[in-house]
Structures are given as structure tokens and as C-alpha cells.
Amino acid sequence: MTAPIVSITDVSFAYNGQTVLQDIHLDIGQGDFIAMIGPNGGGKTTLLKLILGLLKPDRGKIRVLGQPPEKASSAIGYVPQNVHINRDFPITAIDVVLMGKLGGSKRWSGSNTGDRREALTVLERMDAGGLAGKKIGDLSGGQRQRVFIARALVTRPKLLLLDEPTASIDTRGQADFYTLLKALNQDVTIVVVSHDLLAISTYVKSVACVNKCLHHHHQAEITGQMIDILYPCTVEQVCPVELVAHGLPHRVLKDH
């Protein structure tokens, strides 16, 4: 087995004295496609930010590609949860994508045509090539989401972290979106935070339940019948997240 892309050992993190994450252990291997689920405030976004090196753990060790996170963060493509609030910001979709080319590019070269072409190609791959020249504020939520994913992809990441990427996409769009992620997963390791396990369960390879603690349900536990997928957290002593699925939509309950 190859060395894990991310290895998290015994990590705890508190925010203003309140423990958000405790004793987290997680190895993310090459080619993984992990869904991270759990209740709001359960620490999913915090865990992503720890992996990105935006936050420092109070205890424990995180290694990304064998390095401290802040040194390796340029190998991670990140799609944040809130796709920006300032709608009037003067920037076009393609310039948002080009932001992913920051770092390493020559300062004096102005806008590099090679970078531009690559950004456009990625946008087209996201089915958003026609949006390139549009101002970001004029796009719909779903379109903006595509631009932000393109921005993450143009960094040529080894690991893609997405924080609730489908929040502003309709149900049909979500299916398309996860199909796309599945295709991307052939080259890139993916961790996607989601509320909706049902929507992603057929695409991901494993599920990590996060609610202060973390339990990683490996492949074996979620392949098989759909009914099993709905209850990946039956081992109550182990997993901090309880799933209840009486029809649709399912609900994620808090700690028990």
C-alpha cells in the first residue's frame, strides 16, 4: 500500500475553549473518495481547515503528502462552503479560476496565455466555458459553484476538498455533479463534505462520520445493498453520528 496522502494522528482542536474535534485519527489514501457527514457544528469544516493548514491542531499531528499542512497546501484543491458574499466584486469567472494559478507563476508576466487557456479548458470541462467572461456576481449559485470547482481543479491538485458543494445545486444538477466527481476521482483523491448521504452514497468509496469524534466506515461497510448504505453507523459505540432514514430526506441526528 502506498503512503497515505493525508495522515491525521490523535488530533484535537478547541475553539474558544470549546472542544470541536477530539482524538481524530484518519488516513486518506491515494484514490480515496470519502464522504464526510455529520451534524452542523460537528467539526467537518474545521477538519478540512486543519488539513489545509488554515488552523493549527491543539494536539496531535497532521501530515499532508508527508509534510506539515501549510507546506503542502498548494497540492490541495479547496472548494469553500460559502461562495463569497460580495456580489459586486469586480472580477470575471475566468479571473476567479486564474486565481488557482497563483504561486509559482512569474510575477512579471502579467496574464500568462498558457494559464488562461488552461483555465478555460477546465471551465469547459465543468460545462461552464460560456461563463468565462461573465462577472461572478451575475452567475447563479450553481454556476458560481462550477467556477469555484474549476478554480480548485486548475491548481492540478492531488487532493480535492469540497465543503458542501451541492448546497446551491438542484437535485438533477447534483447527480450530474457527483458523476463528474466520480470521473475526476480517477486521478484525484476526493473528500466531500455533505449533509445528504443518500445523494452521494452511490458515488463515494467510503464514509467518514464526524461529530467531535470521527469514525471512518471503510468500503466493506457501505458497498452492498442500498439499505445497508442508509445505516452505515449502526455500531453506536464506535460512530458518533446516528443516521435515520425513514424515506426522504434522511436526517442526521446529533451526538447520542
Binding site: L54, S74, P80, F89, P90, I91, M99, L102, G103, T155
Partner: protein
């Protein structure tokens, strides 16, 4: 306007106003997109404390004021980086305290009676040529720095977290931007006054923001608009014998509300067409 320009003081006033407009167009764009308007107000008012300190201690005027404003600005920036939700309160405190500190120190300085009005509205009609050269130097310096770090400033302004992940030295860049802002504000205040600086920092960039497609366009547009306001305001002040700084701001304010009205009407028209 042409006849007015036969006077050297009018030529100097116009040059000073245009330079201030360009400097404020560039820095104001960064101020508006980073939402540091209140911050800039804090720096500008706090600079008065520096003036008081320089007079009281008998220091040369510029180094004293700049040093004081820089220190205050970096304190405010430090707080806003560490505790964002407290930033506006701290800025309010430093704002008031700096100003009061300056006034008390001027009271205590023998034989000096500060003219608060000239600090607030500047004395654009009595700008000496040496100040023009200083402003030109700042303007060129700012343009070069912003051009050099354009991509990083764009990333910082648009999405600080993403910039950090891409390896942009966000904290250092932010502090540099604030320091640059502090120096700019103090130097331009000396020439055109505090109120005009705030107006030029905010009004033209705000008007242009919604129509610009890039930060660069916004900077250029805001500079051009600032120049128009300044020229028109100066002409009005000459023609009707009004305070020059206030006239420029009145023109800018009218421009501001006219844009809002036009946008509203245009928005309604396209809406009717669609609906």
C-alpha cells in the same frame, strides 16, 4: 476653467486635486473591496494625534505624523486580524482617542493655535510646488507597488483563505497594504484635507465597482471619475467663490446619488422589458 488656470495657485490646486484623485482611486479601490472604509476613517482622524505630538515635542511635522499614524494603523490591523468581530469597536476607540490626544497636546503647546478647519478641509488653494512633487512621488510609488503585487492583492481581497492556501503571504501583505494606506492618507491629508481624502477614497470606487470587470478597471475608472469630480468642483469653487474641498465633495456626492438613480431607472427598464 481656462481663465482660472492663468493663476499659479489654481494650476497647483488642480494638479494637487488630480494627483489626490488618482492616488485615492487606486488605494480607494482596495479600501472599498476589502471593506476597510471605517478603518481608513480611523487612520485619518487618528493622524491628528500625530500632528499634536509632533507640535508638542517639536518634532518635524511629517515624520511625527506618519510614525504616529503608522503605529495606530498597525495596532488596528493587528486587532482586526486577531479578533475580526471586535475590529470596528477598537477602530472607533482609536479614532476618537487619537483625535482627542492631538487636540489636548495642541492645547498644551505654547503659542500654537491649531486650525482644525484647515486639517479637515485642507488648503488646496495654497499648495506649494514642493508638495506636488511629493504627491507625484507617492502616486508613482503606489502604482508600481500595486502593479507588482496585483495578483496577490486581488487574491487577498477576493478570497483571503484561498490566497493563504496558494502560498500568498496574506498577513504580511495585508499589513503592508494597511501601512501603505496610512502613509498615503497622512500625506494626502496634508494637501487636501481629511474630509476630501475620505470622500475620494470611497465615492469614485463605489460608483465604479458595479460596472468594472476587474480590480484594475475599477482603479482606473475610480481615478478618472475622481479627476472629473475634482476638476468640476474646483471650477465651481472658483466661479462661485466656495470652499474648494467642500465643492469637490458636493460634486462627488451629487454624482453618487445620480448614479444610484440612473441605475435604479435602468434596472426598472430592463426589468419591464424582461417581464
Amino acid at each position: 476653467m481656462i481663465e482660472a488656470l492663468q493663476f499659479e495657485f489654481m494650476r497647483n490646486a488642480l494638479a494637487a486635486g488630480l494627483l489626490a484623485a488618482v492616488i485615492c482611486g487606486i488605494m480607494g479601490t482596495l479600501v472599498v473591496v476589502n471593506r476597510t472604509v471605517f478603518f481608513s476613517g480611523g487612520i485619518a482622524h487618528c493622524a491628528y494625534g500625530g500632528i499634536g505630538l509632533a507640535v508638542y515635542c517639536g518634532w518635524p511635522f511629517l515624520p511625527g505624523t506618519i510614525g504616529f499614524s503608522l503605529a495606530a494603523a498597525l495596532v488596528m490591523a493587528g486587532v482586526s486580524l486577531k479578533a475580526k468581530h471586535r475590529a470596528d469597536t477598537i477602530i472607533g476607540v482609536v479614532w476618537a482617542l487619537g483625535m482627542a490626544f492631538g487636540i489636548v497636546l495642541l492645547d498644551l503647546s505654547p503659542g500654537y493655535h491649531a486650525d482644525l478647519m484647515s486639517y479637515l478641509f485642507g488648503s488646496i488653494l495654497t499648495v506649494p510646488g514642493s508638495d506636488l512633487w511629493m504627491m507625484l512621488a507617492i502616486g508613482v510609488g503606489i502604482a508600481v507597488l500595486v502593479a507588482l503585487y496585483y495578483k496577490d492583492l486581488l487574491a487577498l481581497s477576493y478570497d483571503e483563505e484561498f490566497a493563504r492556501i496558494r502560498g500568498v503571504p496574506v498577513t504580511a501583505l495585508y499589513l503592508t497594504m494597511i501601512a501603505l494606506l496610512a502613509v498615503t492618507i497622512v500625506l494626502v491629508i496634508e494637501v487636501v484635507g481629511l474630509i476630501l481624502v475620505i470622500a475620494l477614497l470611497t465615492i469614485p470606487p463605489f460608483i465604479v465597482e458595479r460596472h468594472a470587470r476587474s480590480l484594475m478597471q475599477m482603479m482606473v475608472g475610480a481615478s478618472v471619475l475622481g479627476c472629473l469630480f475634482t476638476a468640476a468642483g474646483l471650477w465651481l469653487s472658483y466661479r462661485f467663490d466656495l470652499t474648494s474641498g467642500a465643492s469637490i465633495i458636493m460634486v462627488a456626492g451629487i454624482g453618487f446619488f445620480m448614479t444610484l438613480a440612473i441605475e435604479r431607472i435602468a434596472g426598472r427598464l430592463t426589468h419591464t422589458k424582461r417581464g
